[in-house]
Symmetry: C2
Subunit: 434 residues, 2 copies
Amino acid sequence: MVAPLKVGLAGLGTVGASVVRLIGQQRSALALRCGRPIEIVAVSARSRGKDRGIDLKGLRWFADPVKLAADPDIDVFVELIGGVGNPARAAVTSALKAGKSVVTANKALLASHGVALATLAEKRAVALNFEAAVGGVIPIVKTLREGLSGNSIERVYGILNGTCNYILTRMEQEGLTFDACLKEAQRLGYAEANPSFDVDGHDTAQKLSILASLTFGIKADPKSIYVEGISSIAPADLAAAEELGYRIKLLGVAVKTGQGIEQRVHPTFVRKDSAIAQVMGVTNAVTIDAEGIAPITLVGAGAGGVATASAVVADIADIARGVRVAPFARPVGRLTTSKKAPMQHHEGGYYIRLLAVDKPGTAATIAKRMAQQKISMESIVQRHRGPAGQGKGAVPVILITYATAEDAVRKALAAVKRDRVISGEPQLIRIEKN
Amino acid sequence: MVAPLKVGLAGLGTVGASVVRLIGQQRSALALRCGRPIEIVAVSARSRGKDRGIDLKGLRWFADPVKLAADPDIDVFVELIGGVGNPARAAVTSALKAGKSVVTANKALLASHGVALATLAEKRAVALNFEAAVGGVIPIVKTLREGLSGNSIERVYGILNGTCNYILTRMEQEGLTFDACLKEAQRLGYAEANPSFDVDGHDTAQKLSILASLTFGIKADPKSIYVEGISSIAPADLAAAEELGYRIKLLGVAVKTGQGIEQRVHPTFVRKDSAIAQVMGVTNAVTIDAEGIAPITLVGAGAGGVATASAVVADIADIARGVRVAPFARPVGRLTTSKKAPMQHHEGGYYIRLLAVDKPGTAATIAKRMAQQKISMESIVQRHRGPAGQGKGAVPVILITYATAEDAVRKALAAVKRDRVISGEPQLIRIEKN
């Protein structure tokens, strides 16, 4: 038998413990499939005594993950500490510098320091694998890195945050408010006590930056992504979407345009009969549009111990097999710099919900302002009376535009506001063609 | 620059021509992603003069694909001839014996001779890649072979034949008969003049045998698969499915049971809100159930020149990168023999549609026969009158059973027939839990 692949693992939370368990359970299958056994030989975590339901007997213990990372007796370093800074960053850097392959589930680290880490990996010709960083168990990194090499990809987009999708699903199914669903998600453990990172779209942006890098050869950089969260979505928007044949999903989208790669995270209207619209609850999904072929969609659990651990183990197995692929699918030196998407130039359809003042001429004024900006309307729905609590004399008006520049829409809405024919702020949600 | 990977390609139909085109279009991207250029240097096809819309200038021409396969000046042989016999088989064999990696889209060849070919590949330590053989552009072979190494997979199932799914989709949406939709599919080029291979389930079985081999480590063998086609499906079945919250799909299913791996192809009821039920028209999809995680579903174009060619090019790119994975994910010597699924022991829910004689006591008789076999009923729907043309006094009765052995259902229905309370043959469709 060939010598085993010796793994050092730092971070024994839910995912780390699941990795230890899976590698134990699949020991013989993995050896068969990789041509050599995979053995965890050393671990590191914050507290040694904690009961994690796994047997750590016989494994060397390191209080310092950075020391573990550089230990001469390991072949692969698995980083499941998390966080953009140290010790995760120092540990991964140390492992790569020591010529060890690295597996990580750390999207924040990759989104911010992926290029620097990939440079180190390239220098030592070792692997830097991160399937678990995006989409949990969905093999999206492998698919973009290796599976679609022959295609010219035009767009990649997905539901990358289970918390947001859970909240939007519940809002849609139960007619509840964002706040109510967020509280429920927190109670069920689907949302953090401080939910901003998830619901404001930053988690999605980090993941999108990685997918965009793999797809389009740009350097991962969340700062070049336009980001908008879901906290402004109202039950009225979900009801309108339903009526118009859409669902609302928080998507991360990276798309080739005439101006370069546009990267954006925001709530979107997606056609109810599209594959992505079917994805409910905490599930994740990614759709890939490549030239000349129908969309490819991958769906699966985006989080959870076993799901994430599965992706980590698959990454380790690839290293055991001897597979080495450039971390971002091409030499680091060939990655280009991404520019922030100028959203004023974004082209697409728009859903607009206004509270119009209930007096003659209001609809005509709105229509005129839209026409002045050369915006074609696909539909205008005016309800006779607003729901309770929206102010006397306020009438909800819902507009769906054909594809137009965002600039024009913003200008038209500003004019409508100046005309004093609406009350409050207009709601604006982009429609993603799919 | 590293030396190019030299490719010899046999078969210049729609897929072959698309491969030549894609490799041309993606030349620099492929070189960047693989670390070396990919060059088609020689081709073989039946007719040399035919206009295929691609430039074959500068490529060596071989009248005999077997000669091309063994040519010392190629590194990789791409087989797109098709068919289970020669010249495809001889050419692939010859290439592998000459120590060349092979890429093929030939499901029939793999289903029947995959083990022998994988043995040759293993002996010479070369790649035998066949992503295009199952599910077209969907990276299902890569996902099962490499992506889910850490998981214990319990079931894999999918819509693997676009023709059947197109026909079932049209029957459902338009209320048309199987014959009418088949004719339409033939007119649109989605079905062959002789449609039996597709509509009777044999194409699905060949593909399933490959997926089952990758998933469960059994030798691919379509003869060990229970196969039933879609020609008996009636508009009444689709209408009943719709009413009961299901869709009907022709699935290939491979599942771990107490008796081993059960492989079967047949029309199935799938829950309308499942990912697989959303797959309409010629699209393909595969769902993977692994222990401890939510199902993973991959959706995409299952056929078509560019879609299939994409998968072929991805396979070639992997070879250019130096990736070598065991063709069926483990050493050939460790593949076990698959046994034919004894369907009488199949456990599951059933949809049963009967034409009952319209007289007192009929329902009681049917219920009694079911009870005698200890079959629990989830629902019984009896319509007052059958649709026109179903015979005077015939009343459609639709039964949905809870999970039970197929044996028991068959016995109960035989008893009901002997009781002379139904006219004609009962319709029986398995329900796939999902």
